[in-house]
Every structure is written in structure tokens, then in C-alpha cells.
């Protein structure tokens, strides 16, 4: 039996990361992978790096990481709505200013994908999709046929992604699976402050378990307040409802939220 922990967007939520890594440490995993987007939204971006290093987490590059490393002007989320762009700019500028040059350079050394062969099960880990670092794979806009095409095209049986911030798992039959591992950085627009990571176990078949993480979100909100981050970001951490970056949500995911 082989078990991996899979962590999605951390978004500088160092408190959730610390709690999740303590939980992972009790679960006898072979390795922990982070699928990218270490920064965004949250406070003190440099604090996640030592935590990841101490726990030996193997990281991939997300679009945020790619932007920081290559000193792009924005996060590459592709918003067109002026309000979403306004908050994306605040988040990116703060994260850029507060991520050390050494950490920015390190982000640029991370691979954009990672392949594993677990007793013949071919796994592909990436941030957005196998095609694009910033392609959103939402549950309600990723039909089975399209996912099979992605797996065929990538020569993979199991595909693991993040980028959207909301977890899901599709068993396509025949040992083929696609997993969006969700995000540790902010709640998933469900009205609760908890966040999530995924455990993937392969023992001849593939099992996916999503693990809720209850962390000290009020302390994180206090950190964000001290750093003068926007009240809208703090509200999301406290309430669990997304307040920004709403434009990219498809109908089903948007309708479940409050805003």
C-alpha cells in the first residue's frame, strides 16, 4: 500500500499549513506533495517556506509561484472583472513585496509537473491542468469525456490538480481518476472556515479521502488585520464564503456560495 498526502493552494495560510502538516505526520504517508500557489490572500508569505522544508514537502510551481519567480505584473488568474482585478492586484502586490528574493528564486526552481509510477499506476501531478498551469478544472465544467481525453493525452491513470480552490474527485472507471485536491489557503465557499487536503492511497485500487482541517482561523484573521490586508479577504477566512475572485466560478459553484 502506498499513501500520499496532497496539498493544494496554501495562499500564505501558514497556520492552516502548520495544522495540516501535524495531521499528515500522524498518517504514515510515503510523501507529501504541494501542488503549488504557496502565496496569495494571506499574511507573512515567507512563513510557509520553512514549514514546507521541515516537513519535506515536495512542491510544484503554481501560477502564483511562476508569477513571483519571473516577476510578472500579475498572478495569471486571468480576471476581466474590474472588482476581481482590484483585489487580485492587492493580493499579488502584498505577496510580491513580502516574499524574500531567495524564496522567489526558489519558487522558480520548482517543477511544473511531477510523474510517479506506483506499481504500474501512472500518476501525474500538476497545478491547473496537464495543458496549462492556470487552466481551471472545476467539478461542474469538467465532463468525464474531457477528463479521459486529458488522461489519454498525458499518458496518465491518475491526475491530481488544484488551482480552483474547491475539491472534487471523479472515478472514471478502469483505474482512472481525476482529483482536485482543493486548497489549504482558504475555505471552499461553503460557509464554514475549515479547509481541506487529500490523502491518496493505492493498494491495487485508488482511494481518495478528503481531510478537513480545523485550524485557528481567528488567529489568521488577526494576522491579516495586523498586515492591513483587505477586509474582504479576512471575511472569507472567518465566514467560509468567497468574497472576491468570483468571476471564474461556473454557475453551479457560484450558486452554492453567498456572493
Amino acid at each position: 500500500m502506498t499513501r500520499f498526502a496532497l496539498i493544494g493552494g496554501i495562499y500564505s495560510n501558514w497556520r492552516a499549513l502548520e495544522t495540516a502538516l501535524s495531521d499528515v505526520a500522524r498518517r504514515q504517508v510515503e510523501a507529501t506533495f504541494c501542488l503549488g500557489d504557496l502565496g496569495a490572500f494571506g499574511p507573512y508569505p515567507d512563513r510557509v517556506f520553512p514549514l514546507l522544508e521541515q516537513a519535506g514537502v515536495l512542491c510544484l510551481q503554481g501560477n502564483y509561484d511562476n508569477s513571483l519567480a519571473t516577476r510578472l505584473a500579475d498572478c495569471q488568474c486571468g480576471y476581466t472583472d474590474p472588482r476581481d482585478n482590484h483585489f487580485a492586484r492587492l493580493s499579488y502586490d502584498y505577496t510580491f513585496r513580502n516574499t524574500s528574493p531567495a524564496h522567489k528564486a526558489w519558487l522558480g526552481t520548482l517543477p511544473m509537473s511531477r510523474r510517479l509510477d506506483v506499481n504500474g499506476t501512472r500518476m501525474l501531478l500538476c497545478h491547473g491542468s496537464p495543458r496549462k498551469i492556470n487552466e481551471f478544472l472545476w467539478e461542474s465544467t469538467s465532463p468525464d469525456g474531457f477528463l479521459r481525453y486529458l488522461l489519454d493525452d498525458a499518458d496518465a491513470d491518475v491526475l491530481c490538480v488544484t488551482h480552483t480552490g474547491i475539491k472534487w474527485h471523479r472515478d472514471l472507471g478502469g483505474g482512472r481518476h481525476v482529483v482536485n485536491v482543493g486548497a489549504l489557503g482558504r475555505p471552499e465557499n461553503d460557509g464554514t472556515p475549515r479547509v481541506w487536503y487529500a490523502l491518496l492511497t493505492i493498494d491495487g485500487t485508488v482511494h481518495v479521502e478528503f481531510v478537513p482541517v480545523q485550524y485557528d482561523h481567528e488567529a489568521l484573521a488577526a494576522d491579516m488585520h495586523a498586515e492591513r490586508l483587505p477586509g474582504e479577504f479576512i471575511e472569507t477566512i472567518l465566514s467560509g464564503w468567497w468574497t472576491t475572485c468570483l468571476e471564474v466560478l461556473p454557475q453551479k459553484e457560484r450558486a452554492r456560495g453567498r456572493f
Binding site: 496549462k132 465544467t141 465532463p143 469525456g145 450558486a255
Partner: protein, 307 residues
């Protein structure tokens, strides 16, 4: 001809988006900027049969289609549209581009039921081109504003959250004020979570006569695609099915050179970007999709990978 002046050719990378011109060019209104000259008397394209639409959906699903779009004309003029939506939603997220005027309470009820039963998203895109009756109806026709708004509100009240699609008919500097005005009017009407998509005006169809001085001889050249992310062009990821064959994209439906065949296999051929509308698509990127399905960014395949 060199790469600076000759039109570029783009391959279909994957059929992400199947567009279905389900009602042909038949429409209950006659907008002044309509890019394919739809209207009550337009006969360039006719209604598709339920059988033809079902076959197109099945063929696209077999190719791993990602999204299905119903367009026209006005799709709700088709007597079998609701059955077609159910057929599409069974295999992929589905979008209906409508003027909203025919969305009665019973139709909104059925759409809401279809949406809630489906695993995939149903997006209702309602066109509105002004935030007042005067501004909208000058473009879309008398009485249209009131009925479109009522239709949008019927969807919103059922949590279908219509995506309000607006063609930009103002200067860039006015964009924020315009968006704020649309948002306020939609909220006041009962769409309490407005979703808005702004489209550029297209140099096609009636728009050519609405706006004087449009440049008509530009094309997308090889040089323009140097370093450009081709996934942002519709022709790299979409095809349009009509009752008269398959076209490279919804915008070029009046150009015979853009008709690529009668089957998706035939229509998988590459296309030369020789029209002014191609330049608009190149300039704005993925203009017809709900949001950018492919957002410009690093290509995973081109990046180093650890094994």
C-alpha cells in the same frame, strides 16, 4: 507574401467547445449590431432537427468535448430546445445564449430543474446592451429591455444566476461607470448577484453598417502569432454546427471559406485567419466563451518536469 503580411493558419488542437446554431439565424428581434444578421425574416440558416443536434452532441462527446453552447438566432424559438439542453447536459456543461425575452415562468422552472438535476453547469447567457430602456432598445429594438430584464430576473430568482452579456458600445474610459450602472440596475430589478460579461463589438454583419470607418482589410499574420498563445483563438479549440454544415467558429458563419465540412472529422482541418473578425478574436482572446477556458500562461508541456 511573407510572414508579416500573409494570413496565419491555426490547427484545431482539441475540440473543447461545440457550438450549435440550433435556431439558425431565426430571431424574434433584429439588433443593430448583430454579427450574423439574425432576425425575424433571416433565412440564411434554418432550425436544426433534434436528431441532428443529438448526433452532433454524441460525436463531440466521443471526442472529449469540454463545453456545449447553444446559439442562434434566438435558441428559445426552437420547439425542442429544452430536450436538446437535457441531452447536452448529460455529457457536458452547457450554455444557452439568449435574448431572455422568451423566458416565461414555466420555462424558467424547467431550466432550473434541468440545472439542478445535472452534474454539470447550465449557464444562461442573457444579452443586454444598455442599462436603460432608451440605451438598450436603441440597439436591440423597442420593448426588448423590459422583457429581457424580466427574463433575467426569473432566472436569478431560481438561483440560475444568468450571465449578462453586454456588447461594448462605449469608450474604454467609460467602462467602470458603465459596469457600475449595469450592476445597479440589475440589482434593483432583482438580480442580486449580477454576473456580467463584456464583449467587444465585432466587425461583422449589421455592425459594419452601424459603425462607419471600420477597417476591413486586416488579417492575423504569422508574425502576429509569434509568441502568441494560440489557445486564445476560437479556431484552435471550437467548431460550430449548423443545419448547413460545420463552420470554424460562430463568428465567421457568413463566410463560405469558413465552412469546413459536414462532419466533425472533416471540420478538424486547420484554418487560415483571413478575416477582420479574426483580428478582433486575436486582440481580445476567447471572446465567445463564458470565461477564458484557456488563460494565457506557461505551457506545462514546455516546462521541466521531475520524475
Amino acid at each position: 507574401m511573407d510572414q508579416v503580411t500573409s494570413a496565419a493558419t491555426v490547427e484545431l488542437r482539441h475540440l473543447d467547445n461545440l457550438w450549435i446554431q440550433v435556431s439558425g439565424t431565426r430571431c424574434n428581434i433584429e439588433c443593430r449590431h448583430c454579427f450574423n444578421n439574425s432576425g425575424p425574416r433571416a433565412t440564411a440558416f434554418g432550425l436544426m432537427t433534434l436528431d441532428a443536434v443529438s448526433r452532433a452532441i454524441a460525436a463531440a462527446a466521443a471526442r472529449g468535448v469540454r463545453e456545449i453552447y447553444f446559439t442562434g438566432g434566438e435558441p428559445l424559438l426552437h420547439p425542442h430546445l429544452l430536450e436538446m439542453i437535457a441531452c447536452a447536459l448529460a455529457v457536458a456543461p452547457t450554455t444557452v445564449l439568449t435574448n431572455g425575452m422568451l423566458i416565461s415562468d414555466p420555462i424558467a422552472d424547467i431550466l432550473a430543474a434541468l440545472a439542478s438535476e445535472a452534474r454539470y453547469s447550465l449557464e444562461m447567457r442573457v444579452s443586454l446592451d444598455g442599462y436603460t430602456e432608451e440605451m438598450n432598445d436603441a440597439i436591440r429594438g423597442s420593448g426588448v429591455f423590459r422583457l429581457a430584464l424580466v427574463g433575467a430576473v426569473r432566472l436569478a430568482r431560481r438561483n440560475l444566476l444568468p450571465l449578462i452579456t453586454i456588447v461594448r458600445t462605449w469608450d474604454d474610459g467609460d467602462e467602470l461607470a458603465m459596469l457600475a450602472a449595469f450592476t445597479r440596475v440589475l440589482r434593483n430589478a432583482g438580480c442580486d448577484r449580477p454576473r456580467i460579461k463584456i464583449l467587444p463589438a465585432l466587425p461583422l454583419g449589421r455592425e459594419l453598417t452601424r459603425v462607419a470607418g471600420l477597417q476591413r482589410d486586416e488579417c492575423v499574420t504569422m508574425a502576429m502569432l509569434d509568441g502568441f498563445d494560440r489557445d486564445l483563438l476560437m479556431c484552435s479549440n471550437s467548431r460550430l454546427v449548423t443545419d448547413r454544415g460545420i463552420w470554424v467558429c460562430p463568428l465567421l458563419v457568413e463566410h463560405q471559406d469558413a465552412r469546413l465540412g459536414t462532419t466533425l472529422d472533416e471540420a478538424a482541418s486547420s484554418y487560415e485567419l483571413q478575416h477582420q473578425a479574426c483580428v478582433t478574436c486575436w486582440r481580445y482572446g476567447t471572446i465567445c466563451g463564458n470565461v477564458s477556458a484557456h488563460i494565457e500562461g506557461p505551457d506545462i508541456a514546455a516546462a521541466p518536469e521531475a520524475r
